[in-house]
Amino acid sequence: MTGFWLLILGLALTSFIPRASFILLFARWPAPAPVRRALRYVPAAVFSAILVPELVLSAGSVHVGLDNPRLLAGILAGAVAWRTRNTLLTIVAGMLALHLFSALLK
């Protein structure tokens, strides 16, 4: 039980400090131009780095092909998102596609 509390406190600190780093702690520090230029690519890089492995990896090995329902559903949902800019529609289309492709590939 103490272990869980220590984990909570440790994680609370290690999540608050990065969040506060520039909003609160270094607010006066002007970000140099290359940093500001680099920031333009941060959202695409972070989210892509989180989600691509979720689509193509299963149990640590790469599955790229028409027999991977997660990848197929992801591609379809990505196309829906790109065209419509609608997150809810993306989620609905992606979940339906995942279950459809899973059923078809069984």
């Binding site: 607010a27 890089a45 559903a73 790109w82 993306t90």
Partner: protein, 259 residues
Amino acid sequence: MRPAGGIFKGAHAAAVECSLRRIRISPAPLPFHPQYLAAVKACLPVLPGVLAFAAISGVAMVAAGMPHYLAMAMSVLVYAGSSQLAALQLITSGTPLAIAILAGLVINLRFSIYSLSIAPHLAAAGPRWKPLLSYLLSDNGYAMSLRGYEHPLDPQGKVWYYFGCCSAIWVAWQIGTLTGILLGTRIPAGWHLEFSIVLTFLGIVAPTIRDRAVAAAACAAGITAVLAWSLPLRLGLLIAVAAGIAAGMLAENLREEPR
């Protein structure tokens, strides 16, 4: 009672000065700035994904043997789903506490990039509000705020817009976590609820890919993340982000050079 603009430096003084000069007819005395409501409305489509992700993390915390009140305390105090899930996964597989917390820190480092990126937009917020605004920073809140800033907003409007996005997502997150904790392990795995997290991220990132440099960043980050997946402590995630940024800047430079 604080005036609606009390969140801002000197806003109270400005309001007093303003009301001395003339009688204020508009705007209507809303409890929140109009940009707050606009932001909440803009965030509604992402809330189902947030709810689902939160519910999954609630289920995972209970499954890891946490009592309900501790799981809820963790959700409120930490408020960082992917680091919570990763640390719990490590703890339950016998990893030392310090390593699990360090893994959480590595996963949370992306918040410092968001913090750097969003800080100029929050310059109008008073110092008392900045700890709260920092605490509320999240993947979705950051992304939705940036999308809102594509339209011109005044400095105060920007702060309220951010506050609207982030507080709506916070509320959805806590409701989702509580639901997950109460449902426990009763959600059938066959629903693949965890896939909605991936879809939420897709819904955020795909519409931002409108030029070659951003596309290069997304491709390089995605490929690197897959190749570096087996590295410990999810270091591959950070390496992939660095590769993505480098690829984006490189693609931008290539375009600028005369041929």
